[in-house]
C-alpha cells in the first residue's frame, strides 16, 4: 500500500509503458487512418512522459530530458500534420480512409 501512495519514478514509467503499449495495440487493431494517427500520437505521449519523468528524477538540471521531450512533441505534431494531409489525399482519390480498401494493388 505504501508503494501506491508514494509516487515515484516507477509510477510514471509504468504509465508511460502502458500508454506506449496502448499505441501499439491501436496501430495493430485499427483500420481507420485517423485512429492509426491517434495511436501514434498516444505512443509519442508515452515517450514524452517517460523522458519528462527521467529528467526530473535522474537529471539535476532538468534540461536534457526536457529538451528531448520538447523536440519529440514538435516532431509528433509534424508527423500528425503530414499524416493527415496524406490521409486527406487518399480520401480525395479513393473515397475512403479504411486501410483495407486503400491497400489493394492495381493490376
Amino acid at each position: 500500500m505504501e508503494g501506491f501512495l508514494h509516487i515515484g519514478l516507477y509510477h510514471f514509467m509504468t504509465i508511460a509503458i502502458i500508454l506506449f503499449a496502448m499505441g501499439i495495440l491501436g496501430l495493430v487493431i485499427s483500420k481507420n487512418l485517423l485512429k492509426i494517427l491517434i495511436s501514434v500520437e498516444i505512443m509519442f505521449c508515452g515517450i514524452t512522459l517517460n523522458l519528462a519523468a527521467l529528467s526530473v528524477y535522474c537529471d539535476i538540471t532538468h534540461f536534457e530530458g526536457g529538451m528531448l521531450a520538447l523536440s519529440i512533441i514538435m516532431l509528433a505534431s509534424l508527423l500528425v500534420a503530414i499524416g493527415l494531409v496524406i490521409a486527406l489525399n487518399i480520401y480525395k482519390f479513393k473515397g475512403t480512409t479504411d486501410i483495407d480498401d486503400i491497400g489493394e494493388l492495381k493490376g
Binding site: 501506491f4 501512495l5 508514494h6 509516487i7 515515484g8 519514478l9 514509467m13 509504468t14 504509465i15 509503458i17 502502458i18 500508454l19 503499449a21 496502448m22 495495440l25 491501436g26 495493430v28 487493431i29 485499427s30 483500420k31 481507420n32 485517423l34 485512429k35 491517434i38 495511436s39 500520437e41 498516444i42 505521449c45 514524452t48 512522459l49 519528462a52 519523468a53 529528467s55 526530473v56 528524477y57 535522474c58 539535476i60 538540471t61 532538468h62 526536457g66 529538451m67 521531450a69 520538447l70 523536440s71 512533441i73 514538435m74 516532431l75 505534431s77 509534424l78 503530414i82 493527415l84 494531409v85 486527406l88 489525399n89 480520401y91 482519390f93 475512403t96 480512409t97 479504411d98 480498401d101
Partner: protein, 175 residues
C-alpha cells in the same frame, strides 16, 4: 496515509488511461478525437505535477489543442462520405493483439522492477530552471537541433500547402 498528491496523480492517470483506451476502441471518430484530447491534456497535467511547467504548457498547447484541431478539421473534411467506413475488426485478432501487448507490458515492468535499472541519482530537490535558463539552453546548446526541426517543419508546411493546392486545382487526376 492517503495524501492529496497521490489522489491527484491517480485521477489524472485514470483520465490518461481512460482517454487512451476510448481513443482506440471507440466506434465513432469524433469520440476517439475527444478521448485523445482528454488523454493528451491529462499527460500535460502529469507534467505539471512533475514540476515541468514549460514542457506541460507545450504539451497542452501543441499536442492537445493543436492536434485536436487538426483531427477535427480532418473529420469535417471527410465526414460526409466516410460514415460507413469503420468496419468491425476480428475478435480473435483483437484478443491475440491484446495478449501480446499485455505480455510486453509485464515483461518490461519486470525488467524495470528487478532488472539492472538503478534508482540511484534521484534528486527531487534540484533547482528548477527559469524561463531564461530554458531559452538560454535552447538557443545555445540545442540551437542546431531546433534549427533542424524548424527547417523540417517549414518544409512540411510548404509541402502540405503544395499538396492541398494541387487538390484544389485538380492537377492530380483520379489515378
Amino acid at each position: 496515509m492517503i495524501n492529496a498528491e497521490a489522489v491527484i496523480f491517480y485521477i489524472f492517470v485514470l483520465f490518461v488511461l481512460g482517454g487512451g483506451f476510448f481513443a482506440i476502441f471507440s466506434e465513432q471518430n469524433k469520440n476517439a478525437v475527444t478521448s485523445a484530447f482528454i488523454c493528451f491534456f491529462s499527460v500535460g497535467m502529469l507534467m505539471f505535477s512533475l514540476e515541468l511547467p514549460f514542457l506541460a504548457v507545450s504539451q497542452i498547447l501543441i499536442a492537445a489543442v493543436g492536434l485536436t484541431f487538426l483531427f477535427l478539421m480532418f473529420l469535417i473534411l471527410t465526414e460526409n462520405k466516410n460514415k460507413t467506413a469503420e468496419k468491425p475488426s476480428s475478435f480473435v485478432r483483437n484478443v491475440i493483439s491484446l495478449a501480446v501487448v499485455f505480455l510486453l507490458v509485464v515483461l518490461i515492468a519486470i525488467f524495470i522492477k528487478y532488472g539492472s535499472f538503478s534508482y540511484e541519482g534521484i534528486n527531487l530537490n534540484c533547482v528548477m530552471p527559469s524561463t531564461k535558463d530554458i531559452s538560454t539552453e535552447m538557443f545555445i546548446n540545442y540551437g542546431i537541433p531546433f534549427l533542424f526541426i524548424g527547417l523540417i517543419l517549414t518544409s512540411a508546411l510548404i509541402g502540405a500547402g503544395v499538396l492541398m493546392s494541387d487538390i484544389k486545382n485538380g492537377k492530380r487526376g483520379n489515378s
